[in-house]
């Protein structure tokens, strides 16, 4: 099952502060984002999102545990991460419009807060300061990718 649950905006705001993309927002901005989130409970073994599918929302784990697996082009599945309270996935989906990059499975009953891309971007449209707060995060992400490229180049 994956029923909707009653959202607790304070708890959501607290975990949103751990998401890099939202960490630099002001308390007011983050509180606003938290008020737009919905929550949903996933049974053990449920697939929360599947690689290749439409990506509509950021997911932040409120409780429980989920694994993140990525399937290679050759069809081999590789465990890339595990997320617990405060962990998240689909973060870049708030900005990019790409399918889910991995499959996420609840390893135990897991409650997630979902923030829809549309609602996030609407906030961006109405409060451009949010975009300014995101710039350092995106800059860091670009530097991180650059470093990875350099490491890969040297490893060859």
């Amino acid at each position: 099952m994956s029923p909707a649950t009653v959202a607790d905006p304070v708890a959501i705001e607290e975990v949103f502060a751990r998401v890099p993309l939202l960490a630099h927002l002001s308390d007011r901005q983050r509180s606003r984002m938290a008020s737009l989130a919905t929550t949903r409970l996933y049974d053990e073994g449920s697939i929360i999102v599947k690689q290749g599918d439409t990506s509509m929302a950021l997911y932040v784990v409120l409780s429980g545990r989920a694994t993140i697996d990525r399937e290679s082009e050759a069809g081999k599945s590789v465990r890339v991460d595990e997320v617990e309270h405060g962990g998240f996935f689909g973060e870049m989906g708030l900005i990019e419009d790409l399918p889910r990059a991995a499959t996420v499975t609840a390893e135990e009953p897991t409650e997630c807060a979902l923030l829809a891309k549309w609602d996030f971007q609407n906030e961006l449209r109405t409060d451009p300061d949010i975009a300014l707060a995101l710039l350092p995060v995106l800059g860091a992400r670009i530097r991180e990718l650059d470093d990875q490229l350099v490491r890969l180049h040297h490893a060859r």
Binding site: D53, S55, M56
Partner: protein, 564 residues
Amino acid sequence: MSAVVTGREKVRKSPIQRLLKTWLGFSAANKFDDATWDPRAAQEAKLLELMERNAGSDYGKEHGFADVRSIEDYRSAVPQNTYETLEPYIERTLRAEKNVLTADDPLMFATTSGTTGSAKYIPVTPSYLHEYSHGVHVHTYRMFTDFPDLLDGKLLVPSSNDVEGVSEGGLPYGAISGYLTKTQPKPIKRFYALPYELCKVKNVEAKYYLMLRNAVPADIRLIVMPNPSSLTLLAEKMGTLSEELVHDVRNGTVNEAYHEGVPDVLLKGFSPDPDRADELEAVIKRSGSLTPREIWPNLRLLSCWKGGTMPLYLRKLPNVYGDLPVRDLGYMASEGRGATPLVNSGAGGVLNVTSHFFEFLPEGERDDPNPTFLTADELESNREYFIYFTTSAGLYRYDINDVVRVVDYYRQTPVIQFVRKGQGMTNITGEKLTESQVTGALVDTVDSGGFDVQHFTAAVEWGEPPRYAFYAELGDSMVGERIAELVGAIDRALSARNIEYEAKRESQRLGAPVLKRVAPGTYQALRQKRVAEGAPEAQVKIPQLSTDMEFGANLDVLEEVTAE
């Protein structure tokens, strides 16, 4: 990539653009958006609205619509329906009887292929058209929001013929898309590159040429074509017809090779445009032929179906359209609009909770005597369901025979993706071929032609275009010309039994079928394999229409003959 500047065709920014977007927002998108926070409430409201409006119809009186106060009441009062169970009511509506299924009278009938062979006729009432258009408006509004300059150019959106014939009661039947195009307000028409009358052109070559003749001079920003293979075909035709198109653009003419059977209005009204012809000619000199990306540098978005059997064709789009984003067209059929995509990723769309009332049956429970019907708020992530529609077309708890999967959530509303048709049906290009149609066609063919066919299975075979492969064990008398006659006769028999199959064959979206003669004993071996896997001997049935994409993969094929 170098690109031609096509500023001359640009539609100047005007109040109508702003007005259109505002209207779309208020009329549909805002209502839909608000409803996604509480899909249960939206769905219950929709259902009760339908019950109240149609309580006085014959079907409504027979099933006590006036006493329905909740979703539970509705389920107790109304049985699940198929087209066949509603057909007696629809037949009466076709004869212009009033108040049969719905309180409002149909404007037309939308046609689609039925499960028993004959066409299905869906009554398009004004309220159904409103529900249907509601989904179109949400889709359009979101595209305009994400790509704000779409209306600075033109939209290339071909439609299908809305008047294929006339019912006994005097109403037209055909495609809703043609009707919507025909009834567009004049200020809206200016944003579209194609005239309504194009949907009347039957000849595929002429249709594509005229489509390009209208679109090539324009600054196209968005292309909407349901099938991704049509997008590829459009680009191919643009390439092969480059010289003719440039000539016609220069002279304000339409090549005479495409005049036959074409309404006059489509051949007139073009002005000579030497400047644009020069631009196009420069593209040909540079690249060898016209290409969509070079002649339409402001093309922002493609929209087509991305779910079901479409991924094979989607993979080919980047070869022609580069990295242009592709948004799903939405899960929809003549029977209703199920979901509207709000993003480009994947093939999922948000359930249209303000358009129709929906119920879902877990995929494994279809044959259960006491199935558990669910509402939109009760669905689980990544589960597959059969979907049932209740609409203002008079379809109540209607089994459309589609399987959908929940791929995500938008607020509290599920995001669903079309997976496949239900049991016993294949659907490559919209033909919705059923096993009963295949069996019927085969029996007709054998009876009329005296062919010795011992075992037979039709299966989908991917290719460019896709086609059906007919695997068959044949008797010794079946040699040479007889096999060619057989495959041609089955092809014709299928066309006779399924109007969409016929249309897709005529339009070349379905290739000519191929008969693959398999070695004697093949079917017996298949049966034995199933029994070895645990199936009871008496229940083993090798289908005459296989939905298994690998059906023929390991069969010993002796010879192949393609229909002419």
